[in-house]
Symmetry: C2
Subunit: 673 residues, 2 copies
């Protein structure tokens, strides 16, 4: 059962699309959330800097609940720490912050859905596109406190349709009942073209057609399968959306075709900001038609990002979104059939106004013959230029709402930007290429965007801990509807090692978006850059041999509105060892994975909550199977091998590998298990 | 056997004190290191920014060796990542960098000793106080490459005195043979007063005597044992070394005595920089006697740190060191018997010269109407002010060497600063308080300093991963002579949770320096701040009950020049599961620990390389014992309990707890095992 609580006059996010069976709370029930003094509510959290908005109407509402010691909290989509979110505090606030360490409270997405699982069991979805704070046993280990920084929002409380006893070991767990109701309410998840399940290679940046071709040839000549190569920001002319640098990529449509002939899709990036440059048609059209976000004085708002000074397209306005979506046409026309939308939190290196203020302040500091106090003020001022919360209060949208156009300050709807940029593209694709499946995914997101595209988990690091973080995020992303997901394999920031990339590949091969990506200035990490390319070829061949299973389970999970990645505790809610296992997952209905995520490891401990068959793959054609009873084991897993488990009574198809997805032949599969 | 290779004319670091049995390499042997083109040697590492010194005489030497796939590399003291250092690259360069993540190549210490363990087995110590780079299977997983950024240095190669077959399961492993030769050569490790094994509480900062007293009373009233409370930088008057803020701490000697009466030692911090302030005697004396480091023009060098503008005492000069060491007298006279030396990498927020340059550059940027390129240049300039490598080339020491005073630029001897600051204090203590054991430890260090004091592992974070990092560092710190060591329990930076502090305590209770410490602006993490103080009391009582064992094993390890913290692979070199275990340690001769370091865990997997008795402590008096055969196990370990193992045939004393170490009575122990 879903009960809806509407407070004030919420902004319509369009995240919920189906209200069948949703009942409206009324009367006393609505006291679920109480208005609290925001300053006071936030005060104990210390570390949260809250720039109180000038808009005095903005209050805070807080929901608190005592948790039992056995309660587990699942959800919140893209975030750090455990599958069980207990023990930390999270903030919904789409953030361009590459330091995904344990202290972070926000990453790029805002996914306000979670399930509290214990003796009682319920789901809660806060549909509010500004800031929401989830204290899940952080200040007090036994208290859950949700603070919504507004008086205008909607809450959905979802209770299971079956008996709420998560300790029962059989039957559908109440968790799935809650999940399916929620997923049904938010609508069907995006399904990418099948080639998007192939191996993909990215780097910031392959700067010329020749460089891209070299990457392709290095894969093809070594017979390492590959389906896509990415174009990061440098393919554009001066980082201008919907342009291609003609010197670096002469005759782009011909180049796209040449790559297609090699069965390689090119996937260009699109950034949120539109460069301010006379003669640049996207800029000039946007200005002329009033499609950019405005500052308080009604001028097109100016921030600095990769192209230098830019305006943001007002993707919350239907006309502006439609116009921006049609910008992708020039690339579709060139034969492109995949995109990734970036910098759409939206990221801000600095705002023109703020930079000016900081420079004026620096002049003062300089005169003052800096003491240590003012030195730190000076440093903080400069460090605070990027993604400054104050800048999000400096601009406005003309958002299309059911009642018409509404002018709203950005911070109140901050978490909707990436969602609507991606929806704009997706809507345009339906019109511009109705017969084509287009790959699209985004960095920033909000629930609702899952209907239009996937996400990647942003600018992670070449850290061993980020292999495990990838695994832990998968179930919570699925919970929030995001099915086409993946992390940058090998890590984006910092330098990778061969062993790290190998072990990461052995996890990413089970993830829909298997993309190797690295930042400018870091060590090259294309698979052929390392010594043991033979092993890398075998690993990627195993991925391709698994595509029949992965594609089938992906579509099943989308169709039946459930998880593709299931925590062990969802399948065995009465088994406390299963519930506490945070480094294994069920993938689809039949398979359990247990990747190695530690440097120099020779294997790992594995917990089997049920009898299973271990599959040990030395290559896509060379494997062993062995039966195991339920229990704790140590399994040797060399970096050259892949190990997974199959549930008793289940079968997993292992197809014949191919060098690209179009050449896969599902009929060739052997059945493991 | 130890062979010494002297290249050029090395700077005398005094890290090696005993050359008995050391033979001099001659002739062809000396080709072990070959001169290489430094630029070329460093080029593939990309990420290493090498500010080539102007001193043209400085070359680079490089030693490379192919590693077998089974080779394990131990050592390098204070560093991130594994007990087995393979798979990453490290740089010896004492660094004030609080972000101890997997990408770091340097922390606060420079500990150039390691052991390669495989079919062949040898130790290598690079005695050079400037930059040394250890690529241990980073660029190529099978290659070890050591680059010394100088032509003047000494190398010691240590081979075992027994058969170098690490696969033999019995007898003393060659690793211990190598280690003992090395430790003998560098001299006996520091032993602190026994009270320094008590529980200790710190925060940046307890600002007044009243605040300190409140902390003490909160511990005493809850009967949570405690032996020391720390004074961070705010106890000083304007951060001036060897001063006490008289308003905040009126009648300091009386206050020290009052705390002593409560059996609590006060441990004040001493920083490296001496504030420039007329009338401040330390400053005026230093200037008058010429005891500060000089810039290229012979003026006292100016940098900014906590007090604002400061000079660095030239602790490499014997007279200056003697003078600085005697500065501690004012605090000793007040009854203080413990110190921690900080900021002695030395940390630099900015140098006066560099700051001026940056401000001039900012003026240019401002005029230039920043484009994105210059915006990043501007940001980098400001971010690059702190601990800038260039600043370390701007000042000079008049170092005391066997041949007399030598003027040397700081970057060539950078890693000796913290060592010599701490030695200065230790030398002075011998003179000023010959009958007293004084606690002293340092943030920065170099091998040699282990004879004069301990270290804490610097400004870590309230991260779960930092519990495990603490464990992994312990053996390598011991290898390099550092026995009195510990990490900030609960984490210094960022916010801790109750569960994190509890689990951290369950590791720190086995570590000599058990100090809870947190940064300004973070959540309070004194044990009484949380809800379950009863559990915290029990945990600290267990620590006190373990002090008889820990103190005995500490002194044994010091006396016999061996490890107190032993990787499983050192005890079972022929057991590949033992060698690969990186989250358990032997503590002393009889005990093995297996802390829980994961949020929401209910226990953990444990590997027993030999039959053992599990001890499960619910309190210092309530425990269970159970025999286990060798093998892999999952052990339930609630956060309220402590589990360790005892080797067959061994006994571990469990004493009676007390509220402070002086009240401990060793005769009361029961014998576990």
């Amino acid at each position: 059962m879903i009960k809806r609580y509407v407070y004030g006059k919420p902004f319509e996010t369009y995240s919920v699309v189906c209200l069948d069976g949703v009942t409206e709370a009324a009367g006393e029930e609505r006291s679920l959330f109480a208005k609290v003094d925001m300053e006071k509510a936030l005060e104990p959290y210390g570390g949260i800097t809250w720039d109180r908005p000038e808009d005095a109407a903005m209050g805070a509402m807080q929901y608190t609940r005592t948790m039992e010691s056995e309660d587990v909290v699942y959800g919140l989509g893209e975030n750090v720490r455990g599958i069980n979110k207990r023990g930390w505090i999270y903030e919904s606030k789409c953030s361009d912050d590459p330091n995904h360490n344990e202290s972070k409270r926000s990453l790029y997405g805002a996914h306000n859905f979670m399930i509290v699982a214990g003796k009682e069991c319920f789901g809660i979805y806060i549909d509010y596109p500004g800031r929401v704070i989830f204290d899940i046993g952080y200040l007090d280990k036994n208290e859950l406190a949700i603070t919504v920084c507004s008086e205008n929002y909607t809450v959905y409380i979802i209770t299971p349709d079956i008996t709420p006893d998560v300790t029962s070991a059989d039957g559908i767990s109440p968790l799935y009942s809650i999940l399916r109701q929620f997923r049904h309410m938010i609508g069907r998840s995006y399904v990418p073209p099948k080639w998007a399940f192939g191996y993909q290679q990215c780097r910031w940046s392959y700067k010329t057609a020749a460089e891209v071709e070299e990457v392709a040839d290095n894969y093809r000549s070594r017979h390492i399968p590959i389906d896509a190569i990415y174009l990061d920001i440098d393919y554009m002319k001066d980082y201008k959306d919907f342009t291609v640098d003609k010197e670096a990529f002469p005759d782009f449509p011909d180049f796209v075709k040449r790559m297609k002939d090699k069965h390689i899709h090119l996937v260009p990036i699109i950034d949120a900001g539109v460069k301010i440059e006379e003669g640049y048609s996207t800029y000039e059209e946007g200005v002329e038609k009033g499609y950019f976000c405005k500052d308080a004085k009604g001028r097109d708002f100016v921030v600095g990002v990769w192209p230098g000074r830019v305006h943001f397209p007002d993707v919350l306005n239907r006309q502006a979104a439609d116009w921006f979506g049609h910008g992708y046409k020039v690339l579709l026309d060139a034969g492109i059939d995949g995109f990734w939308n970036d910098m759409n939190e939206p990221a801000i290196f600095y705002s023109e106004e703020h930079l000016k203020e900081v420079f004026e302040q620096i002049d003062e500091y300089k005169k003052a013959n800096l003491d240590i106090q003012t030195f730190f003020e000076f440093k903080d001022k400069v460090d605070g230029l990027a993604n400054n919360l104050g800048d999000y209060e400096r601009f406005y949208h003309r958002a299309t709402q059911p009642e018409g156009e509404v002018v709203i300050r950005h911070d109140h709807v901050h978490n909707l930007f990436g969602y609507n940029m991606t929806k704009a593209a997706s809507d345009a694709f339906k019109e511009l290429a109705p017969d084509k499946d287009i790959l699209i995914f985004s960095r920033a997101s909000y629930i609702g965007m899952h209907r239009y595209g996937g996400i990647w988990t942003g600018d992670n690091h070449s850290w061993w801990s980020h292999i495990l973080m990838t695994l832990k995020m998968l179930p919570s992303l699925n919970m929030c509807g995001f099915m086409y997901v993946g992390s940058d394999m090998g890590g984006f920031n910092d330098n990778a090692t061969e062993e790290l990339v190998m072990r990461w590949a052995a996890l990413s091969m089970f993830v829909p978006l298997m993309r190797n990506h690295a930042a400018a200035g870091t060590r090259y990490q294309e698979l052929y850059r390392f010594t043991d390319t033979d092993t890398f070829r075998k690993l990627i061949e195993i991925r391709y041999a698994l595509i029949p299973y992965l594609w089938q389970e992906y579509n099943k999970a989308v169709d039946s509105e459930t998880l593709m990645y299931k925590p062990l505790g969802w399948e065995h809610p009465g088994d406390r060892h299963a519930v506490a296992t945070e480094d294994q997952l069920y993938v689809g209905d039949s398979m359990m994975i247990c990747p190695v995520y530690e440097q120099n490891a020779i294997g790992r401990h594995v917990y089997l909550p049920e009898p299973m068959t271990m599959v040990r793959l030395k290559s896509a054609t060379d494997y062993e199977q062995e039966k195991y009873a339920a229990g704790h084991y140590y399994i040797d897993i060399p970096a050259e091998q892949v190990v997974f488990f199959i549930r008793d009574g289940h079968k997993v198809p292992l197809g014949k590998s191919a060098e690209y997805t179009d050449a896969l032949d599902d009929s060739d599969a052997v059945w493991l298990g």
